[in-house]
Symmetry: C2
Subunit: 329 residues, 2 copies
């Protein structure tokens, strides 16, 4: 390993936007930028624009010789193959050898995994999971993502796709997830979208209960609106978070009995609900655990800055995966 | 490591009986024996009897110098601490430093884990999981046990108790598990005891449907009776296996989306039901998986001899855990 190479590039690919940055080993972001993902039908054009956007930054921090590699967080990212495979919210269909394409364009080693796995590596490198060998990262955003660390390593599984806990079935034959066709998955209840659906369902089921939520056009009710109403004491909005926490906590109990983590770390928009979501989640996790697991597992909110976490996580892949990265070089 | 030490002792502690054996590195059992677990109120007496039973065998195979160590499979066994903790079906209450006691008595290094973890190590060393780096072992006996291997390592978790998949909640607020107080856990439906309960419930729910099972005293209906009736084409007995497979398959889908194993390996009494249990399990697993996981994961029956598997699994801990064992020596 070249000891000059003290910087890493992190790229996080979202359906709408891509964010990127150059990060040092302490997690300081020296440079960051963003571009549109969605406007590029053609993957080559996208990579060209990415290169043009990052190249000046590389020069600015002192040149390519200082860069150890490029870490990429992407939906349906496969760590073993460096591919993005059939990502529903990206325009590029099929299997894209993304890490290889980036590596060739930039002439730097590249590693890729899904965004939640990258977030887990970020927490382990720069965040609240520093020093932990067993933890589960759960991202509560538009969807529910996860990254699982056991024995100090990310669990990628046999095919590189392990850790899709958002798609665990939590209510048999429950609510339909339109994206996956599965019924009763965690994501349908406990994502930001799920919270919205929980609210709409409860308003209908309790048509006679007065609620601040009824002042909103149903189309405008999102997890933020529910939160705003809940902190004003609205009974339906409060019940929405309680219900969401019940489902989430029971799912967490199952996860704990799988890998017995030291902590479950929460990241993403829903974390803003704070104790409203944390309290019922914790209570319901505990009540569904075997005695040997009770009162052992912490549930912690990530402390990373939301706008920077994706870049940090992606960049951290470069340090974490030093060995597999260096064989590419 | 002493190259003379080519043998390992395996001890499997069950609630009723303890079986033990001396095993070579190829999985040949050179000597085996058994004693009653249940009759010993006092742990020291039990260890004395175990020592008296195994000592002549050690001499017979050529003496202690040939023995690398002792592997122990035990209910609620904690790998990190070598303890048996609050095991419901053993008479010794509290936390027992069992590995340490055995190690002192025999003057040999000892490693301990729960029986399902030991079974997983056994499959990896001598069985159908040879060469696999990611698999899940599920034991379907009186209870449902599990051992999870990811990245070629057993997942012990932060506290040494990971892999209690039998206690995953599969039906929210479902059937009460009297041993744990949890409702709707996998074990209440998919253990041999669960199959019995499924049958009794179905006989009651379909009181007008004729069934061979009605010829039995309800107290005598067990998973074997249900199997015998099912192979004669009895509709209720057939439905019992279908239902059991539905629950098991859905749970397996959740496990697959956690650690993405190459295979799920089944062991224990219920495996005798063969395709009756395998077919609905596989179908229901597949139908609850995200597309990226479909048609990838094998469900395989263990091929190890049932009476020998527990000894092999426990003994295999000695080879698997070479490093941690050798530090004790």
């Amino acid at each position: 390993m070249n000891t000059l190479q003290t910087l890493a590039i992190g790229i996080d690919i979202g359906g709408t936007n891509t964010v990127f940055g150059i990060v040092d080993a302490r997690g300081e972001i020296l440079y960051k930028g963003a571009l549109s993902t969605g406007k590029h039908e053609n993957i080559e054009d996208y990579i060209d624009e990415l290169y043009e956007a990052i190249k000046p930054a590389i020069d600015q921090v002192g040149g390519k010789d200082l860069i150890r590699g490029i870490g990429i967080g992407a939906p349906n990212g496969n760590f073993y193959k460096g591919t993005i495979e059939h990502a529903a919210n990206l325009k590029w269909k099929g299997i894209i050898p993304f890490a290889e394409m980036i590596s060739e364009k930039f002439d730097l080693p590249a590693a890729l995994t899904n965004d939640a796995n990258a977030a887990a590596v970020g927490e382990m490198t720069y965040g609240v999971a520093k020093g932990m060998k067993d933890f589960i990262m759960i991202t509560l955003g538009t969807g529910v993502g996860s990254g699982i660390v056991a024995n100090g390593q990310l669990i990628y599984g046999h095919d590189g796709f392990a850790g899709e806990l958002g798609h665990n079935i939590v209510i048999p034959n429950g609510r339909l997830h339109e994206g996956t066709g599965l019924r009763g998955s965690l994501e349908t209840y406990c994502s930001a979208t799920g919270v919205r659906r929980n609210a709409l369902e409860m308003l209908e089921d309790h048509a006679k209960v007065d609620s601040l939520l009824r002042q909103f056009d149903p189309a405008d009710i999102d997890s933020k609106v529910v939160y705003d109403c809940a902190i004003q004491g609205d009974p339906i909005a409060l019940r929405v978070f309680e219900f969401t926490g019940e489902i989430l906590g029971r799912a967490f109990a199952n996860f704990v009995m799988f890998s017995s983590p030291e902590a479950i770390i929460l990241f993403g928009g829903l974390c803003k609900a704070g104790d409203l979501i944390l309290k019922p989640t914790k209570e319901n996790m505990e009540s569904h655990l075997l005695p040997i697991f009770k009162n052992k597992v912490k549930i912690i909110f990530s402390q990373l800055n939301e706008s920077e976490a994706a870049i940090l996580g992606a960049s951290a892949l470069v340090w974490e995966l030093r060995k597999s990265v260096s064989t590419d070089n």
